[in-house]
Symmetry: C2
Subunit: 659 residues, 2 copies
């Protein structure tokens, strides 16, 4: 170690003081974890993490993830003390107040140095797995000179008890992600009390069983912490470092208890903690010598980051590397050519198959993509374009066999996108967005470009039955902010949706795709991406318009059939393909008025919950959908049973017109 | 063992033949698992499971859970062969066809003997944990004579890779559920191929690290299977029995490969499998001697079930035991007295606190309830009424410290409810329904009485910020079929909602409860449970009615304040407390027309997504809500920021009226 124990101790106490004072000022927050892990964090940042506060976007920096996000004052303290431009001490003073970058939990979109949003337990560690995977992949592509960094995680018992922990460490152990190191805040306390209220697990043995290197240390002994971290770095496996700590360390009457976890210590205890720590400084005041030690720690990375910048400048990969890290797509109009080929030779295929066809165009041209599936590769049609497997033996591969780990996959994809340099996509059945929903929400909140390839998007899944048939899923996902839910209805729209999804730098996309075959109805060259408008007129009324059918995805073909029949009865009918309601809502009033005329019966048609469609159809419109669970039968029988036939739809519409 | 190898082999082959033939007839399904586990299942049902096909509702039967639900033909075969009234051989012939009880995945509501709906991987095992917990609790209450049975699980690699597996086995190991035995179909195959594509885990070591007994057997050696099961039964810990099997055993060219997992074998392979197995019988034909052996196995439990019935008849607990198993509530009107006391002395408390107060009334009077929280006991206010902890040392306790395991908790509660005799409730923050959503959906599909106590139900959560603040959650849950989402706004409504939730024998309830304090607005005795109507008029317009505000939960008080201000401006305003949209939708047209008059501006007011409210407010109404993520700040600042103040609401409404 480069610093002696006394100086490290003062540095750690600066974290403790800032943390308890900020929480006290807010009268809200979590002092226990930052105070308990202050010693570990001080050793980690002083001796081990590669970072440069002056260049927070240094692509080859180590990634540090505070998976136990409630301990946010730990990372805010570290960022301030080591010299990041933000947070300032004023920002820390306004911890948890409206507009402060020092939010209750760390938010990646508020501060450089916060690599991801954490708080929902377990997901930080799972995102770190994705970061470590992205690092290894880019290392394989660009070499050690440009990409060779570690991913550090601080996790608590909550992170380790959550199910996603199992999924995340399973894939990390399997892939031998040796540059991933998890520091477990082993304080034996949860909110409800001692951990032995609810667990008897031998955590270290479990990690060892999953292919991890495991070591431990006294989390308040600087030399021992340093030894354990050094040991972890040397091991080729991912490492768990069990740091035995006292939660709220320094608070004389409350330390070691759940009372320090999630509430201010109180003025008295704060005062007594000052005495206990020998910290004679006012709140938010860090003495110059201690701050100087911390700032020196921050400046220590400048040389390495400058050397790296020089290597990049000299590299033949410079332009491509910078493009990928910036997240820009390469120039070219491959999808337009492909769409033209579909217009020339229409393909009547399931939209999951159309997605595979689109990927066969995309993957060879766009090296950024890394695909995968949670053990449904052949069903999700996610492996296309000659991409090979990403394995412990070959990190250059671009296809990930995630195993049966939907939540872990989604969270790791968030980590990959946040790391940068790659664009992850991954598949499962649409119904199992339920398993991954916590991570899908973090995709949206964190503004990550993650593409979810969610197939078998309705009762059209057929015989597997109601557990596997989404009903409420499209509605429930549309209710989520900052998420595109796209449901293309033919091969052309599917290609367009992929193009839209790839171009979203700051939001995720769900592609909801059919199991069953679909006719291609887009048969004319449009010259523009019609799906990008969210909704467009797929067919204009021939007779005087009385009806507008808003349909999505697999039901657009059905709507066109119904419209044909209605026209034969003299009922003029528009069909709108509502590919993506979020994008439609973003269009101007003229587009809305054009597609949703006030003088027509507006009908929504989707093989899922009708919930939410009334915002377009109005109180007097017609909503055709499925508001119960599905059933087990061949798809055609289910569609007939649930009224998704041309005849049933036409008669619902004509009944409504006649009512 | 009571049967020799040759006879067991024929019995197992009957399962194989029925399974492959049914899948072939449907041209859809999963033959690999039933064929691979046929030998294990034959030993299990012949020698170990306590059951009586003539009395499928025998309360003290062993529970058998096919967690690997895709292998549904295994359980359909077992039920038919052992002599359950259903499925018949005709039912099996119609496997996966519309209306058949032999659905693609086993559905608890279609067949006796199917203890729970499985298919979403990992959840069967987690539900079995809940069943085993309910069994131990009822044993502690009613004694060995009435309750002393085992819970058996067949699980595959998918179940073991899912995150919920970690949560489920963690709580089971901690609680020392020795009567829980999991038979792992260790076939080393997943859909994508060999398990080593995606995992390197030492499963047995992981289970051992989690407090489980672990043993193994050759899954095709009857004596070895029997030895391992016997060993598992003898161990006081829950047991994992690793059964080394060959997937699709018997199919000569496809066995041992993922080709047998999820598709019909094909006519050729089926024919060759017949040869390989020496099975010379037509499809769906089981020879009399083999059927007789199976039927004798089924009849072997009759004596034990009769003895048990005699013990019950003689028991002083008979009436209470039968009441509890039937799921009937005891007589009495405790909640009415409690509501009267609130009317007499109003309480201005957070609805989570009101929930605790209601539970303090309920729990002492209703011994059926078992409460708990996923490590947020003090925040969810779920421990009330002097109930003690449920621990490995005292299963009579009625409060469960679930640890940080939301999904595991929810799935186990499903298992408890399905077991019967108990009414489970459990808490976490509303936002973390995302983590438990897969199990909430199975609550709804399986029609279980599970009560979710979901607190901190809006931005009113305050400083913890957007990761902890639900926005889209109410909408996303309302879109789910067969689920009550109840959001009470004061102490009276909270008591009413508990009463409604407890009385739902066939559906689950979400109680969405506030963190922040709320005024009690229900101040007059109603004589009936107004919340049971889903929505009711909390205030009638004084001036000529121009506005109706539909508000829920914490926003009803705000709506009343806004209405007061509008009335002072001469704008007559109704306020409807829309406690539960599902129940409101079930009321008659007169109730709807009364509360939603055509001649008023209808305004929805809820501190969450506006998605879906348009079905009540129409296209020309006003929707006041939050359609973005929240923020980190004190609640009052957030409410002001997002426009949830009396002034902001009044001005939105008057602007709309003037527009």
């Amino acid at each position: 170690m480069t610093l002696d124990t006394a100086r490290l101790s003062s540095m750690a106490n600066a974290i403790r003081a800032l943390s308890m004072d900020a929480v006290q000022a807010a009268n809200s927050g979590h002092p226990g974890m930052p105070m308990g892990m202050a010693d570990v964090a001080s050793v980690l940042f002083t001796n081990h993490v590669k970072f440069d506060p002056a260049r927070p976007d240094w692509a080859d920096r180590d990634r540090f993830v505070l998976s136990a996000g409630h301990g946010s004052m730990l990372i805010y303290s570290l960022l301030y003390l080591t010299g990041y431009a933000a947070p300032t001490i004023e920002d820390i003073r306004t911890f948890r107040q409206l507009g402060s970058p020092c939010a209750g939990h760390p938010e990646n979109f508020l501060l450089d140095g916060v690599e991801c949003t954490t708080g929902p337990l377990g997901q930080g560690l799972a995102m770190a797995v994705g970061m470590a995977m992205a690092e290894r992949h880019l290392n394989a592509v660009f070499g050690d000179g440009l990409v060779d960094h570690r991913t550090w995680v601080i996790a608590g018992d909550g992170c380790l008890m959550e199910g996603i922990n199992h999924e995340a460490i399973g894939i990390a152990g399997h892939l031998k992600l040796g540059a991933l190191n998890v520091l477990w805040d082993d304080n034996r306390i949860t909110i409800d009390g001692a951990t032995d209220l609810s667990t008897s697990e031998d955590v270290k043995a479990r990690y060892a069983a999953t292919g991890w290197h495991v070591c431990e240390c006294d989390g308040h002994d600087f030399a021992d912490i340093d030894r354990a971290i050094t040991e972890a770095k040397a091991d080729p496996r991912p490492s768990l470092i069990a740091c035995r700590t006292v939660i709220g360390k320094g608070a004389p009457t409350k330390q070691g208890t759940s009372a320090t976890h999630g509430a201010a210590l109180g003025e008295d205890e704060v005062a007594r903690t000052r005495e206990e720590l020998g910290w004679r400084h006012a709140p938010f005041e860090v003495p110059a010598d201690i701050l100087a030690d911390w700032r020196a720690t921050g400046q220590a990375g400048a040389a390495a980051s400058a050397q790296w910048a020089a290597r990049l400048a000299a590299s033949s990969h410079k332009a491509e590397f910078e493009r990928r890290i910036a997240g820009d797509l390469p120039h070219g109009n491959a999808m337009q050519d492909y769409v033209a080929s579909l217009i020339a030779e229409p393909k009547n295929v399931a939209s999951r198959k159309a997605s595979e066809m689109a990927l066969a165009e995309i993957n060879p041209r766009l090296p950024d993509t890394i695909g995968g599936s949670a053990d449904l590769t052949g069903s999700n049609n996610t492996k296309a374009g000659d991409i090979g497997p990403f394995t412990a033996d070959d990190y250059s591969g671009r296809y990930i066999y995630w195993g049966i780990r939907e939540f872990g996959m989604a969270a790791a994809m968030n980590g990959m996108a946040l790391h940068g340099g790659v664009i992850p996509y991954g598949g499962t059945f649409l119904v199992f967005t339920d398993y991954a929903r916590g991570a899908i929400r973090l995709s949206a909140l964190q503004q990550t470009r993650v593409i979810y390839v969610m197939t078998h998007d309705s009762i059209g899944l057929g015989e597997d039955g109601p557990t596997h048939q989404p009903v409420e899923h499209l509605a429930s996902l549309r209710a989520m902010p900052n998420l595109l839910v796209m449901r293309p209805g033919d091969a052309v729209e599917t290609a367009e949706c992929w193009q839209v999804a790839l171009s979203q730098k700051d939001r995720p996309t769900i592609l909801a795709l059919s199991r069953q075959g679909l006719p291609q109805y887009r048969l004319e060259a449009a010259g523009e991406n019609l799906s990008a408008k969210g909704g467009y007129r797929a067919k204009a009324a021939a007779a005087a318009r009385k009806v507008v059918i808003l349909a999505t995805g697999a039901e657009v073909g059905l709507a066109l059939d119904a419209a044909k029949e209605l026209e034969s009865q003299g009922i003029g009918t528009d069909v709108v393909s509502m590919v993506c309601t979020e994008l439609f809502d973003e269009q101007d009033a003229a587009h809305h008025a054009d597609l949703l005329p006030a003088d027509a019966l507006i009908v929504s048609l989707e093989a899922g919950s009708t919930f939410g469609w009334q915002r377009y159809t109005g109180a007097h419109g017609l909503n055709i959908g499925i508001d119960s669970f599905g059933g087990s039968a061949p798809a055609k029988d289910l569609f007939a049973h649930f009224g998704f036939t041309t005849d049933a739809i036409v008669s619902q519409i004509t009944n409504k017109l006649n009512a």
